[in-house]
Symmetry: C2
Subunit: 345 residues, 2 copies
Amino acid sequence: MMKKLVIKDIAEQLQVSKSTISFVLNGKARQHGISIKLENKILKYVEKVGYQPSRIAVGLSTGKSKTIGMLVEDISDPFFSSIARVVERSALSSGYRVIYGSTENDTVQAIDLLQAFRNHNVDGYIIAPPPGTENYIRELVADGFPVVVFDRDVPGLDCDKVLIDNFNGALQAVEHLVDRQFKNIAMVTLLSKQNQMEERANGYLKALNDSGLVQRIKQIPYDLEKSKCVEQIRRFLAGQKAIDAVFFSTNYLALGGIEAIRQLGLQVARDIGIVVFDDNTNFELFSPPISAVAQPVKQIGEQVTEIMLSRLQSNTPAAFQRIVLKTNFIARESTLSQPLKANVF
Amino acid sequence: MMKKLVIKDIAEQLQVSKSTISFVLNGKARQHGISIKLENKILKYVEKVGYQPSRIAVGLSTGKSKTIGMLVEDISDPFFSSIARVVERSALSSGYRVIYGSTENDTVQAIDLLQAFRNHNVDGYIIAPPPGTENYIRELVADGFPVVVFDRDVPGLDCDKVLIDNFNGALQAVEHLVDRQFKNIAMVTLLSKQNQMEERANGYLKALNDSGLVQRIKQIPYDLEKSKCVEQIRRFLAGQKAIDAVFFSTNYLALGGIEAIRQLGLQVARDIGIVVFDDNTNFELFSPPISAVAQPVKQIGEQVTEIMLSRLQSNTPAAFQRIVLKTNFIARESTLSQPLKANVF
DNA sequence: GTGAAAGCGCTAACAG
DNA sequence: CTGTTAGCGCTTTCAC
């Protein structure tokens, strides 16, 4: 077990004091009038022996951990993991690490994680906020931490936000169904008060209102296991034979819905049109390819990190930003209204 | 800005010393003969004011950070993010956090991350090792850190390992193609010396050898952008008209391959059979559904964490484990050998 | 039974 | 220009 080098070792080897090393390493040689010669000597030696300061000691001493805490709903969800990836990469290039936590949309878990982050002295928080976390987040903001909320808005919470235009994304998707001559358009969504789901529902309602069609919304509880979810959708569709198209508010629900449609012996597109909010699952390779509302994952990640890093690096408290990114609707074959020709790729 | 409570505050409020608090909080009240009464009083007060020790200070003082560093190839890859999720969950229940890093299979990035982990004083390492990291990992092991390698073996590296049976997984998949009467079976894989890819290739070669068929392997460079990758596969297929089936060694390659097949105006199953190693992408919903070798993601995650936690919690250095998990072959319609009927779900 | 004090590895006043 | 020193918040030895 090779003993890890510490600053004291370096100081002894080089016959200088710890602080001199520290100054040099933190680029403060100049303001402390350390000779270029000594500086180079130190730099060279440190490089040679591969010394790296213990982040944990630096953290204790400075109060800064150079890490960002990121709270997502589920890191195994492609939507979140893609964003996480973008954040990780850009943060790293500014010397920040990211620690993640999956909330499963649960208040208690989320708050536990946020407390854990806090005990780890994270410098900033990137949060897809589960319900019930408003107050804790507000505290974080009040205590002066940079907080960037994304994916879902929390009305009344004052901090930086990177959101997408759920209302118009949904509106556009449902209008597309209307354009394609579907007459009985249902929506399958989560049983949730979360802002982004409500906005998607509002978009749906608006589109149907505008065209005078009947509205039917089926809400599925959040933590239902997959098979139950499929069953609920199947029952819903079976009970409402008139439905000729469905707007799914999430990717996950759509996967369950497609399964349900299969179980009913129906075929997507030929028997029922479908369109999905969120395009992260190879929908273009499905049979038929599924029309979807694509969220700008990369942009979300970049914006989030950009705001976070700028807060972290400047201490001038700029006004909070609220960025709303546009979605991108992609029409594919799942929303053709007439019987579809054999479509095997 | 509400000042965070520290142990000193508690001590002052309660008129006892810091160490007493510390003992109680760490369940060492008994061995230090602290009265139950005092203990309860402290516990109650701590609970009431919501005091939580600074992990970073605890870390500095104990040398333990209660965090595990996890190195994956790409956290946005469903295979890795699913495993990460499992690890996160089980680690958390034992009080460990996980910090991730994506290596992009790059030696330098991987080592940088590992060093960063080390500076963060992580207590253990879970690693999907990129090429060229053997020595660094070996150092970690030599320095007494628990290290669990997964997904790919590094022959000659002595540490805990959780692997899957790539050879037999591939063998089975290709034998399936042979059974289905395909005669010109190609393999598309990564240009890589990594053990798991070689094993998959060996499985392919064995299956073809056993049945006396001609072997053709196309290797694609790792970091090619998607469109180039598609192009290379397209050219390969176009140049070898006789090919009637393809075994893709990764999920990602298969997605490119399906695109390439489309571009050539061919149809999967009808014109060309395909089977894929790794089943993480809703292949059952594709058109036609794609036959695949499923990796036991959940088991991998659980095994990895179990080994890690047992190392972390016991100091008796048990012998290294090498666990090899079986894959699960799923035959779907992409490997029917005769022309397929119209298949729209 | 309890508390003072040293120390984990680093930073940053401050003194010289 | 450089070094001494006092913390950061906690753990743990050892003396009372």
